[in-house]
């Protein structure tokens, strides 16, 4: 039974990857089409109001408002939803196959993290139209799933005593959720940097940018997404310390994984400060958001695989 469920899970994951691939291609085509249809003097989707002398606040602007309807994008989004449902089913099947939460080793972590990242991406569409991040998100999910299933796959195994704790469910899940918000924030910050560069130097070859919100809007969106990620990460840090106290007898011991969780937290605290520091708004704080997310990825890949420590849960 376990084996059938696990195989079914893999089938679902591979199918989801197929669907994501098509969605990714369509999102990219959408960019191409936007570039083709963008006018030299395109719609500036933003307006920034100087209020109170120094507070830059953003006017509420529907960032997609006036632009033409992009058929590719709509199809791509629909496919992303389909892919996500299949992907989600794959994650559930893996969980049922082993009888506990599917995020106890790197393979399962890849599956679940990418599912949550795509899920958060889809969910925020209700709040803001961020479809222009579709290529970034589906591409990211594809790479994560591909590397996860090809390089990190492990058979279903019983949960070792060290992980038999409710904190596995809470701590790791919140960490993944935080990662999803950081991922979105980094995507927005990358777009923001591209926009700022285009505005400054009229960078050629990126004409689709003209159809996207301006750098200030992107920056504000990135900030709001990252702040949510930061709260989740703070919770992860505290929950991890509580668990470490239960399992290892000390709440903090500068284990490599703890060190990197701390580094990431500090970088994002820096990001939030940068946003409030004169001279650090704009591209500088965007770089911090990207560096922070790079540290998250580093923590998940290089630290898990190559650094020695108590968190030896890669399962490999």
């Amino acid at each position: 039974m376990t084996d059938q469920l696990d195989s079914a899970s893999l089938v679902a994951i591979w199918s989801a990857m197929g669907v994501y691939t098509i969605a990714f291609i369509l999102f990219t085509l959408d960019f191409a089409k936007r570039s083709a249809s963008a006018q030299p003097a395109a719609i500036e989707g933003t307006r920034v109001v100087e209020a109170g002398g120094s507070t830059t606040t953003l006017e509420r602007v529907d960032v997609s408002g006036k632009r033409l309807s992009f058929k590719f994008e709509r199809a791509a989004l629909a496919l992303t939803i389909v892919g996500w449902v299949v992907h989600f089913a794959g994650v559930l099947l893996r969980g049922f196959a082993q009888g506990y939460v599917p995020w106890s080793n790197m393979f399962e972590f890849s599956l679940t993290a990418s599912a949550i990242i795509v899920g958060v991406f889809l969910a925020v569409q209700f709040w803001q139209n961020l479809r222009f991040l579709g290529a970034y998100i589906t591409g990211f999910a594809l790479i994560t799933l591909g590397v996860g299933t090809v390089n990190f796959y492990v058979d279903v195994k019983p949960l070792p005593p060290a992980l038999q704790s409710a904190w596995l469910v809470i701590h790791v899940f919140v960490a993944v959720l935080g990662t999803a918000f950081f991922a979105l924030g980094a995507g927005l910050s990358i777009m923001q940097l591209l926009q700022a560069r285009r505005a400054a130097a009229k960078a050629a070859g990126m004409r689709f940018l003209q159809t996207l919100p301006g750098a200030d809007v992107l920056e504000n969106l990135a900030y709001r997404v990252i702040v949510v990620g930061f709260v989740l990460w703070t919770f992860t840090l505290i929950a991890g310390a509580i668990w470490a106290e239960r399992a290892w007898g000390r709440y903090w011991g500068w284990d490599t994984k703890e060190v990197w969780t701390f580094i990431i937290w500090t970088i994002f605290a820096g990001y939030i400060h940068a946003r409030a520091t004169r001279g650090w708004r704009g591209s500088r704080s965007a770089w911090l958001a990207i560096i922070g997310f790079a540290a998250v990825l580093f923590n998940f890949t290089v630290v898990n695989l190559f650094f020695k420590g108590l968190h030896a849960y890669s399962g490999l």
């Binding site: 019983p158 070792p160 310390a241 290892w248 007898g249 500068w254 400060h273 004169r278 708004r281 650094f307």
Partner: protein, 558 residues
Amino acid sequence: MSRPSDHIDAPAPKRNPDAAITQPALGASGYARFFWRQLTSMRTALFLLLLLAIAAVPGSLVPQRSSDPNGVLQYFTDNPELAPLLDSVQAFDVYGSVWFSSIYLLLFVSLIGCVIPRTLHHLKALRGSPPKTPARLERLEGFTAVVAPGATAPAAIASARGILKKAGYRTRLYTGNGGDLSVSAERGYLRETGNLVFHTALVGVLLSVGIGGSFGYSGQKVIVEGDTFSNVLLSYESFLPGRFFSDDVLQPYRLSLDEFDATYEQQNPSAYGQPIDYTASVTAYPPGADAGTRSEIKVNEPLRVGGNEIYLLGNGYAPIITVRDGDGNVAFNDAVPFLPQDGNLTSLGVVKVPDAVPEQIGMIGFLYPTQTTLASGALTSNYPDLLNPVLSLQVFTGDLGLDAGIPRSVYSLDTDGMTEVAGRNAEVPSIQLTPGETVELPGGIGTVTFENADPEAAAGDLANSVPRFASLDIHRDPSQGWVLVFALLVLAGLLTSLFIPRRRVWVKALETAAGGIRLEYAGLARGEDPGLERAVRDIADRHSGQLGAHSADPATRA
């Protein structure tokens, strides 16, 4: 708001092109003030935060004495040239190093210097009332103007005040220079409170970690099934006291390990032999009590006894070994903890028999719980439980070096100055024993017995033939409750400060020549506030709806 001068919301710095020339020479106090202002600026806080992140990196690249002392020793062996160099810059003690400490101490000085004036300022603001309405609202956020033909200014402002109050605003009425009436409203003081609680609680975390660490202690104890541990300093294998530790905090309780159970996977072929559960069944005798309380310790379930928390960190086998010397006297009889070397619990241990006559005997042993033979002929274990236990011993005679006064680890044998009499480099191969078996040592120096701890078991059932040991970590940290409290305050402060908007809203009423009034609405964000515009418009809609007002913009008038 008394923010640092380079805060994004602070007034723009005065630009004075001649500043460099006209600035008067700074006296000592001027320099001090200048330095203090630099230290408590946003830019410094940002710089120190990022520096702290960078400074934390090396500690994850190089093993640390605090978390991985053996890794440090190994590093010295592997990199004999580099290691002392790294050691001289405290690279193996990064998180207690002078440079790491100075960064975070500076950061916290800056933090305190930043938080105190803000707290004072905020306390004053909490008691004060919203500031005077600006003369011109047009340039502010969400500016809306309507005309209400039949309304009077005092009534309109009173109803606006009611709406604002209900929405949680603090309000005050003002009369402008032109006689115009207005209500000035502010809400979200909790945002600043949260921010201050957040930063102050960080200091709390730092202090309770620092203070708690110096009163607590942690120790390790290896305890074999059937043995009892007494909580006195001497019984610990290793002990790490905090700076202000004193003996009298050790409460004299006792703890026996009645039984240790390990369960291993037997069904799933891809996880065969993987541990599923470890349970240490113990009896704790509180100080002065004769009757014990039975309980269990598991990996994620520590036991709290006598002011301590007791954690199950490891386990293994402790074969009972008896050595009789050349005269036939029992020179050694004990359960010897063997350290696991792999997942199938191939375990390594050392036996030292200083009292053997005519010569001291030392042995290095491997225990294979389920012994099989590799193609190379080497022995190994292929399952962690006791299906086919075999003990293999290398035997040495000569000076054990115990009299030199140098402390020796019980887990290692210094074979310099000893002669190998059985083993790879001797004429006689290693001695191999199964539970209950006794073998003569070469050269008539005695015999060795691998005792069966459960001789009554049915023939072939060796499941309990070797006792197990549990390695326990025993801690006391009087401040960890405080650390948790402050950590939760950090989280609570963060939530309020990031998600509660702080904003000011103004409603102004001007009498018009035509007899009615013109109403103006506008808001101002205090910090990040993406919802401000909508909030102002909501208030404007609700209020002008009540008054039956319509837009003041002729172009949109219906």
